[in-house]
């Protein structure tokens, strides 16, 4: 009886361990967004002030409200990606959340009193938290009675802003097909190639980790700088060691390093933390913040820009 009980408990523990080990990575979220170029060409823009300078940004809400073809294309892409197991984050719903947050943002001010200024895409990325932005543009070409579509679909990694997939081309000329049919054909003609490249990007994520960026800065109030020694080693070197120990295959590059700042690029962070839970840039960088506090008694503030760039400011929180 004791033997049976021990076997049963052993089997149960093994099941639990296996389930923990098989934790899955966070599924990237994808959102289709019309490109700035398309919005400008079609007149869907608005202006905003960026620290005294007037900038033009896409007006996604106006575009969705007034352009049926845009809704058709986004709907078609959404449908095809859902079939592949990747339902997309809805642009319209994300814009609605953005509006709700806008009132709160109006009250936000920096220590100097200036307002927070972000572009439309940055705001959208922050709210939607999409890992991949599928940037969409097309142009109708006409030669006499014949029409064709030049179509661009780019997959941009929201962490690094790097292009990770694309589907680009001009479809055949057609004298009788309507614009919606031409657009639908264009989506179908490019989506498989796009997904093949996206698959390659996901394979790279699993093999080599997610690519992010890390910046180290210091407050003026910090007593010392990155050359200050702890346990006989400079703080900058200790930080570099931590990054090397906590990246996949130790992959990162130190783009710049002085006594007051460090910039790390092409940092490959694991998809899971040491407890097997899916993680992201912020959680990963918190590890460095905690190490600085626990080991060297240094307070540090962690800020994020988008999903893929962490900044740790040493000295105080």
């Amino acid at each position: 009886m004791k033997k049976i009980t021990s076997w049963f408990i052993g089997a149960l523990l093994l099941m639990v361990a296996t389930n923990t080990a098989m934790a899955q990575a966070k599924k990237p979220t994808i959102m289709v967004v019309p490109s700035k170029n398309w919005c400008v060409e079609n007149g869907f823009t608005k202006t905003y002030s960026n620290q005294g300078k007037t900038e033009v940004e896409p007006d996604y809400e106006m575009a969705l409200a007034n352009n049926f073809d845009l809704k058709l294309v986004i709907g078609k892409i959404n449908g095809m990606m859902s079939e592949r197991g990747f339902p997309l984050k809805d642009l319209e719903a994300s814009l609605a959340s953005l509006k709700n947050n806008a009132a709160e943002e109006m009250l936000t001010a920096s220590k100097s009193g200036s307002e927070v200024s972000e572009s439309a895409v940055d705001k959208l990325k922050k709210v939607a938290k999409a890992d991949i932005i599928m940037e969409l543009s097309w142009k109708m070409n006409q030669r006499g009675p014949f029409k064709s579509v030049s179509f661009i679909l780019r997959g941009l990694d929201a962490y690094t802003n790097k292009q990770v997939a694309d589907g680009i081309g001009t479809g055949p000329e057609n004298g009788s097909a309507s614009v919606p049919v031409l657009l639908e054909t264009a989506v179908l003609a490019h989506i498989d190639n796009f997904n093949a490249k996206l698959q390659a990007h996901f394979d790279d994520l699993f093999a080599n980790g997610r690519e992010v960026g890390l910046k180290i800065r210091k407050w003026d109030s910090f007593d010392g700088d990155l050359e200050k020694e702890f346990d006989g080693e400079e703080l900058g070197s200790l930080i570099e060691k931590w990054v090397g120990d906590n990246t996949v295959k130790g992959r990162f590059s130190t783009q710049d390093a002085t006594e007051t700042m460090m910039n790390f690029e092409q940092v490959r962070i694991p998809l899971f933390d040491d407890k097997g839970r899916a993680t992201d840039t912020r959680n990963w960088a918190k590890g460095l913040q905690k190490t600085l506090k626990d080991k060297y008694k240094i307070d540090a503030k962690l800020t994020m820009k988008g999903l893929g760039e962490a900044t740790i400011i040493i000295g105080e929180k």
Binding site: K27, F86, L188, A196, F202, F206
Partner: protein
């Protein structure tokens, strides 16, 4: 003695013939004895292209065109189309999933995923005699969407959301 020699020769011939009939799955399914010309992507998850296949006569060449069309989509890709690369990128799958492919092509299950476009007749310009064989060009429609789902379900290719 001559009887024993005869039996040995017969045995050797039988062994050779067994080896000749035993198909090397990798060679058979990944052979590129056909040519493809992309036409267009269909609106309903299909792809349309012209395939030139070989056979001892027209009928056999047309029959081979259907299986060759699926092999082209799965193992080679269709240049100039949205399926530039093959669906099955790891050719080791041909051995690890040998049973699947033998069933798929052997029991004519593949016919669900391919059809000859038009009335099946072959244009005179698309018929050639090459040595002792005939080469025939026909337009085929392959249901790439359904084929992909089948291969993903069988674990031969990874789906886009696998691992997440």
């Amino acid at each position: 003695m001559s009887k024993i020699k005869g039996i040995v020769v017969l045995l050797m011939l039988s062994v050779l013939s067994f080896n000749a009939n035993a198909q090397n799955t990798a060679t058979d399914f990944s052979s590129m004895n056909y040519e493809v010309q992309f036409i267009r992507t269909g609106l309903d998850g299909t792809i349309l292209f012209k395939i030139y296949s070989y056979g001892k006569d027209d009928d056999q060449a047309i029959a081979n065109a259907k299986s060759d069309a699926l092999k082209a989509v799965m193992f080679r890709g269709i240049p100039g189309s949205d399926l530039v690369g093959p669906m099955v990128t790891d050719l080791a799958a041909l051995e690890t999933h040998k049973d699947f492919f033998q069933t798929f092509f052997g029991t004519q299950q593949y016919l669900q995923y391919v059809s000859i476009s038009g009335d099946g007749s072959v244009d005179g310009d698309d018929r050639f005699k090459v040595g002792k064989r005939f080469k025939v060009g026909v337009v085929v429609s392959v249901q790439k969407g359904n084929l992909r789902k089948l291969l993903e379900g069988a674990g031969i290719i990874r789906s886009l959301n696998s691992g997440f």
